[in-house]
């Protein structure tokens, strides 16, 4: 599903250049649930940005579902993001004046799905994350865990190939975190490919594979025994 070959990325900091990613080789198969771990400055966020087409690599190859991702125009990148990727953010990033339902429907709006169909589909995904009764509520009327579940529904609404989650539990207490991870595991059980960036060991162990980044290189890449979050809920 995802294939990365010898990826390099450096940022210019005045006269110095900061080499953040120093040759990443990385492959994700369909249906995997991968945790990307590393301390701050390890390059994990940069990697996620490149995977999310929010940033470009300097050198190296990136193939997503067989499509080479290279030299994209803004419009093309927007199209690919919409088609291939679903984002889950640490701070949820819901649009505060739109109801839960409208938030979930937003990616479909950018896919030019007709309004009625959009709302039906959005409702289906809200139901899946267990928030159907809250469809008409504004984000400010929801708890943190509910917001993240709306965000997950939104990420899934466009039926992307890959879900990218950047510290999805970073702003939540541990109980809510497990609830969210439980949801992510269940979505993964349905066959969705999910990448989770985290620095929390317990969250990482709820995935099926852990990739450790350190100083811009992958130092460890291992399959693990998945800890089900269900038991903590």
């Amino acid at each position: 599903m995802i294939e990365i070959k010898d990826l390099h990325k450096s940022y210019k900091m005045g006269s110095n250049s900061l080499h953040v990613l120093k040759g990443i080789n990385f492959k994700v198969e369909e249906g995997e649930l991968v945790a990307i771990m590393g301390s701050s400055g390890s390059g994990k966020s940069t990697l996620l940005n490149i995977l999310g087409m929010l940033d470009g690599a300097d050198t190296g190859e990136y193939t997503l579902d067989g499509v080479p991702i290279k030299n994209l125009s803004e419009t093309k990148a927007a199209q690919y993001r919409n088609k291939f990727l679903g984002f889950i953010f640490q701070s949820f990033n819901l649009i505060n004046y739109k109801s839960a339902l409208e938030n979930v429907a937003l990616p479909l709006y950018y896919q030019k799905v007709p309004r009625k169909e959009r709302q039906e589909k959005a409702m289906k995904y809200l139901e899946r994350v267990g928030l159907k009764p809250w469809a008409g509520h504004l984000p400010s009327e929801l708890s943190g865990g509910q917001k993240q579940r709306v965000a997950i529904a939104r990420a899934m609404a466009a039926e992307p190939k890959v879900l990218l989650a950047d510290e999805p539990t970073g702003a939540l207490d541990s109980k809510t975190s497990y609830e969210v991870m439980d949801l992510i595991q269940k979505i993964n059980d349905d066959g969705n490919t999910i990448l989770v960036v985290t620095h929390e060991e317990d969250i990482a162990h709820m995935c099926k594979r852990i990739v450790h980044l350190k100083d811009g290189v992958i130092v460890e890449d291992k399959k693990i025994e998945q800890v089900r979050a269900e038991q903590y809920v």
Binding site: L54, T75, R81, N82, F89, Y110, R154
Partner: protein
């Protein structure tokens, strides 16, 4: 453009920033208000000027003789030019296409007496056409007619003031009044918008007065109106031809300004219209400058809004919003604010003009108003202004990197 979601978003941002939206909208509304008021004022001035000339037909030309200032054709300078009946006939025959009405004027003064009342008035002895050229309004009786001229009848059309002075409450029609001892029958009374002096005047047949004053065929002035279908340039061209012809006839140097005066109202109108055109230009210029301030204001609020919404725009882009869609959103919002507030300004200006405009009626300023074309132009200007105001902020918004939405710093 007529997408429910886009409008929902626009209304939302406007709703959350009510005061800010109002203040910026106000600047544009105010600018349009001033622009319309300025244009209406210029219009009012124009109306006033035109109105003050309306005393005479606006397509009239007056030919007055003078004294030559240059030697020409064997004559020395300082020769007095005298117009005669022949000149009138000559002009009439020379320009059958161009001339609408033509009349001679013969000036005299008369000491008038009716019963015990006396008064001194100026007499203008004219042809029947003169009524139309001077726009003389007859309130009772009639004006001098062709038969009066042919018969050299001793008839007089007296001004309203003259009638008041001499006849008090009596009806002057058909009564005989003495002018310098000669009895004239009053055939009409006229009024004039001009002023009281114009109504202290007496009209009589030109031939009558020419006979009284020594059987002369001299005339003091020729007044005429040209074909009313002529535009300004054609009118000026005609008065030029007329002047050339008359100067040749009287052997006046073509460059001699003093020998013969041809006074064309069109010239005065030319001056007025160029004057009001300049005023209009200034009005539009000032209005535009104020409007630019309004545009900058709107641009400012949009930049601000976008700065506040950077993260939201980033999220939208991460969700697959194309740059174009972001640009459209911002532009539409900007056009919306400008147009709505501009229309409010326009409406206010219109209401004020409709309410007080018709009541203003002074010589230099009357009935300020705006034409539909001004309104249409203002609307187009507003939409363009809205696009201009939104363009920079929109591009800024489109260039927001979605990466900022991911970084929680």
């Amino acid at each position: 453009m007529f997408d429910r979601d886009i409008w929902q978003e626009i209304f939302n941002t406007l709703k959350t920033n009510k005061l800010r939206t109002f203040l910026t909208g106000f600047s544009v509304g105010w600018a349009i208000f001033i622009l319309v008021m300025l244009l209406a004022s210029v219009n009012g001035m124009q109306n006033g000027f035109v109105g003050s000339f309306n005393d005479d037909a606006t397509n009239s030309i007056f030919v007055r003789p003078g004294t030559t200032s240059k030697a020409y054709g064997g004559f020395e300078a300082g020769r007095r030019i005298q117009l005669k009946n022949d000149d009138l006939e000559y002009i009439k025959k020379s320009f059958p296409e161009d001339i609408e009405y033509i009349s001679a004027r013969y000036y005299a003064n008369a000491t008038a007496r009716y019963k015990s009342e006396t008064g001194s008035y100026s007499v203008q002895a004219t042809h029947p056409d003169h009524q139309i050229i001077e726009k003389t309004v007859i309130i009772s009786g009639r004006y001098v007619n062709e038969a009066d001229v042919v018969n050299k009848a001793k008839v007089a059309v007296i001004g309203r003031k003259v009638a008041e002075d001499l006849f008090n409450k009596e009806d002057p029609l058909g009564k005989f009044v003495e002018f310098n001892g000669l009895p004239f029958r009053v055939i009409g009374v006229f009024t004039d918008d001009g002023d009281d002096n114009a109504e202290r005047r007496v009209y009589a047949p030109v031939s009558t007065y020419q006979r009284i004053y020594g059987n002369t065929n001299n005339i003091n002035m020729i007044a005429l109106t040209y074909n009313p279908t002529y535009d300004l340039s054609k009118a000026l061209e005609f008065s030029g031809r007329l002047e050339d012809l008359m100067k040749r006839r009287h052997k006046i140097d073509p460059d001699d300004q003093a020998g013969l005066y041809v006074w064309n109202y069109a010239e005065a109108f030319d001056d007025i219209s160029s004057f009001t055109a300049v005023l209009k230009g200034i009005g539009i210029g000032v209005g535009f400058l104020i409007l630019i301030a309004g545009i900058v204001g709107i641009g400012n609020i949009m930049v601000f809004t976008i700065k506040e919404r950077t993260k939201e725009i980033g999220v939208r882009k991460a969700l697959g919003a194309r740059p174009r869609q972001i640009v459209n959103l911002v532009l539409l919002e900007s056009v919306f604010i400008t147009t709505i507030s501009g229309f409010v300004g326009l409406l206010f200006a219109w209401i004020i003009l409709a309410a007080i405009g018709p009541t203003i009626e002074t010589p230099a300023f009357s009935n300020p108003s705006v034409e539909l074309s001004t309104v249409v132009t203002a609307t187009i200007i507003l939409i363009i202004a809205g696009v201009l105001a939104g363009l920079l902020p929109a591009m800024k918004a489109a260039n927001v990197k979605p990466i900022v939405a991911l970084s929680d710093k």
